[in-house]
């Protein structure tokens, strides 16, 4: 009989607490819905224009500049952070790189909290989640830190400036220009993209089509295929393209996985050197194909420049040269002068073009 008693009791305790929780939550207030929130006037908002910028302010020595990438041990961020370290050296700042070993928002939060506690002057981060690190960044800024995002932005309210690697227009135009140079501005071209619903790629492809139609009317973009950012699938899609369109002149692949798979297929096929290939790729993945003549030129922003610019922007913010408002300008070392755009965005510039001449200068 005790059996029922004990089990029942446990059952009672659990149901009791569940009911209590329900009552508590329901009784809390009248009902908070998305609509009622949207109807309420937006509160809070950025600290923009609270201080005025002094373009001539000197950058103090010994600023604590911390880089917090999406995750450590990621080659892309290792190079970007390396650029930041170089800039910190030029600025005589104290550079540090901290971050989680797995790319999760919650672990970034604990690192931001630590940096807040340590009193970092500048936090340069790439967000794993545009919103999840917001409240932690707010606390850091309340503690006096300047926040620069790069690669992946947060909600604009949560940071001072965002370093954008390139504008969608810049990315699209660079790739079309590279292709036009290689095929003489005329002929059938196909696109090997990532997934069918990849936001970035789809935006670029639209812009590429518009730009090509305008500037190179004889270039015809015949089809877009999707390699799903998988090496094998991209490889097979390339093969399929060449079989379905015998007079294909070139392939543009705006994704690093796609372009390296396509290059591998082309370099082992009869089309090597006959069908042009360009797009967005990393020098390390593409080096051998540039050297064996499969690929003439491809593009990507240099992540080291991205980190370098981010560190300079952070220092300029900390010194008060800029506040993050549109139209302010600052000097970013060897990269020259930059102007802040709308929403506190700073665009790094057009992608870097890689050819046989310069590919060995890069390691990422």
């Amino acid at each position: 009989m005790t059996s029922f008693l004990t089990a029942r009791r446990l059952q009672g305790v659990i149901t009791g607490s569940a009911v209590a929780a329900l009552v508590l939550t329901t009784a809390a207030c009248g009902g908070t819905t998305r609509e009622s929130e949207a109807a309420a006037p937006a509160s809070g908002g950025g600290s923009e224009a609270s201080a005025s910028a002094d373009p001539d302010a000197a950058i103090p020595e010994g600023l604590a500049i911390a880089f917090l990438p999406k995750q450590l041990n990621n080659p892309y961020f290792a190079v970007a952070d390396g650029g930041g370290e170089k800039a910190a050296g030029e600025l005589k700042a104290e550079y540090s790189e901290v971050g989680p070993s797995e790319a999760s928002a919650s672990s970034q939060v604990s690192y931001i909290n630590t940096l807040t506690q340590q009193g970092a002057d500048v936090i340069v981060t790439s967000a794993n989640d545009p919103n999840a690190i917001c409240s932690a960044l707010d606390q850091a800024r309340a503690g006096g830190a300047k926040v620069v995002t790069f690669d992946s932005d947060t909600d604009p309210e949560c940071r001072d400036v965002f370093i954008n690697q390139a504008t969608p227009d810049g990315i699209a135009e660079t790739q079309i220009d590279l292709m036009a140079e290689q095929i003489g501005g005329a002929g059938k071209v196909a696109i090997l993209s990532a997934t069918a619903n990849a936001t970035n790629q789809n935006a670029w492809i639209e812009l590429m089509k518009t730009y090509a139609a305008e500037k190179y009317p004889e270039m015809e973009i015949v089809t877009t295929v999707y390699g799903d950012d998988e090496d094998e699938k991209s490889f097979q899609e390339t093969q399929g393209l060449l079989q379905s369109t015998p007079d294909l002149k070139g392939i543009i692949s705006p994704t690093t996985v796609g372009i390296s798979a396509a290059a591998r297929y082309l370099s082992g096929s009869e089309y090597k050197g006959k069908v042009a290939l360009t797009g967005l790729g990393t020098p390390n993945q593409m080096r051998e194909f540039v050297k064996d003549g499969t690929v003439t030129a491809f593009a990507l922003w240099d992540p080291a420049d991205l980190g370098y610019l981010a560190a300079y922007a952070g220092a300029a913010l900390s010194a008060g040269q800029i506040t993050g408002a549109e139209g302010e300008t600052f000097e970013a070392g060897e990269l020259g002068e930059y102007t802040i755009g709308a929403d506190g965005e700073i665009v790094l510039g057009d992608p870097t073009e890689f050819t046989a001449d310069n590919v060995d200068e890069f390691d990422f």
């Binding site: 089990a7 009248g30 999840a132």
Partner: protein, 340 residues
């Protein structure tokens, strides 16, 4: 009371087998608590920025979810079972919360629904374990993947983030600037309820009995299946509540929220001196374990130890915590054997 002790007296084997374990586990909790206090004192003096209300707030906020989920999971581990799906329940609850909020439901409706969902998910675990007699390790490894998969079905790789400011501020706010997070209060209530349940009621004693010998527990009239089923349900409900808290704390509902959290929770439980085979351990040790793990991470982060090294330190701590009792027990039996 008499009913509970009688079967034990009637069966000669279990009490003898249990005696040495009991002797060891109670100190187990106090060993880890002593460690915690020692660590806090040393870190306060040697780590710059460790001892401050702001840092205490950061630290406690990181512990809340782990400690919360550790409560029901400790009970489950004491009975000799395990639930690895807790973090996936957190993720699914978070995803559902985001989806329903996006659909326009009120939080006052969504939160109870999430808790009910948690109860159902827990019941699925519990029924598979108790009715089909499957090992809980296998069942919950399965539901770990299943529930996380469902979370991605619900929300995909989207994030829902426009939760009301008052709610998200509460989740990260502290009680009157003391640095103690608001969420600690309801957590303390749940800790008290669980502690009383485990350490001061016949139910609690029956859980230890199950963990020591399920057959003996069954013979002494405990409805093992039913009790375990309800424990899994409780774990589901509390994990779902954890999902609600996680979502508000980070202001972002995502399918991948809290992935890997189950390992932190289990680490805290083992570090706290609860035997993974069941039958021993206490809640105080578990809470001290959770606090110790978080404090070590926090202090090492403050002195800029890289995250890889951090993981190594956590891993070593855990192994030491699991191996130390074995060694201690071995030493004890040997020293006891010698005089004879």
């Amino acid at each position: 009371m008499a009913v509970d002790t009688a079967p034990v007296a009637g069966n000669a084997a279990p009490p003898q087998a249990r005696a040495p374990r009991r002797q060891f586990t109670l100190p187990g909790g106090s060993v880890i608590s002593t460690f915690l206090v020692l660590f806090l004192v040393i870190a306060s003096f040697s780590v710059e920025g460790f001892a401050s209300t702001r840092n205490a707030g950061f630290l406690l906020l990181d512990v809340v979810a782990v400690a919360l989920i550790a409560l029901p999971l400790t009970l489950i581990v004491v009975t000799g079972e395990i639930d690895l799906s807790v973090a996936s329940v957190v993720g699914l609850s978070s995803a559902v919360m985001g989806k329903l909020w996006f659909a326009g439901l009120s939080l006052q409706t969504i939160i109870p629904l999430c808790l009910v969902l948690g109860a159902v998910l827990g019941a699925v675990n519990g029924l598979l374990v108790t009715r089909l007699g499957l090992p809980s390790l296998a069942v919950t490894i399965g539901t770990l993947a299943l529930y996380r998969g469902l979370a991605f079905v619900v929300l995909g790789d989207q994030a829902v983030a426009d939760f009301p400011r008052e709610w998200t501020r509460w989740a990260i706010g502290s009680i009157g600037g003391t640095g103690i997070p608001n969420a600690v209060l309801p957590l303390l209530v749940l800790i008290a309820v669980t502690a009383v349940l485990l350490h001061a009621t016949p139910i609690g004693r029956s859980l230890y009995a199950m963990g020591n010998s399920e057959d003996a527990a069954r013979f002494s009239g405990i409805d093992v299946g039913r009790t375990k089923l309800w424990l899994f349900v409780a774990a589901g409900v509390v994990s779902a509540l954890g999902g609600v808290f996680w979502t508000l704390r980070y202001g972002s509902a995502r399918a991948d929220n809290a992935s890997g959290l189950e390992l932190q929770v289990i680490a805290a439980i083992l570090l706290g001196g609860v035997s993974i085979f069941g039958g021993s351990g206490g809640l105080l040790g578990v809470l001290a374990g959770a606090l110790l793990l978080a404090s070590v991470r926090n202090a090492l982060q403050l002195v800029n130890v890289p995250s890889d090294v951090l993981n190594i330190v956590t891993g070593v701590l855990l192994i030491v915590a699991v191996v130390a009792p074995q060694v201690a027990a071995g030493v004890r039996t040997r020293t006891r054997a010698r005089p004879r």
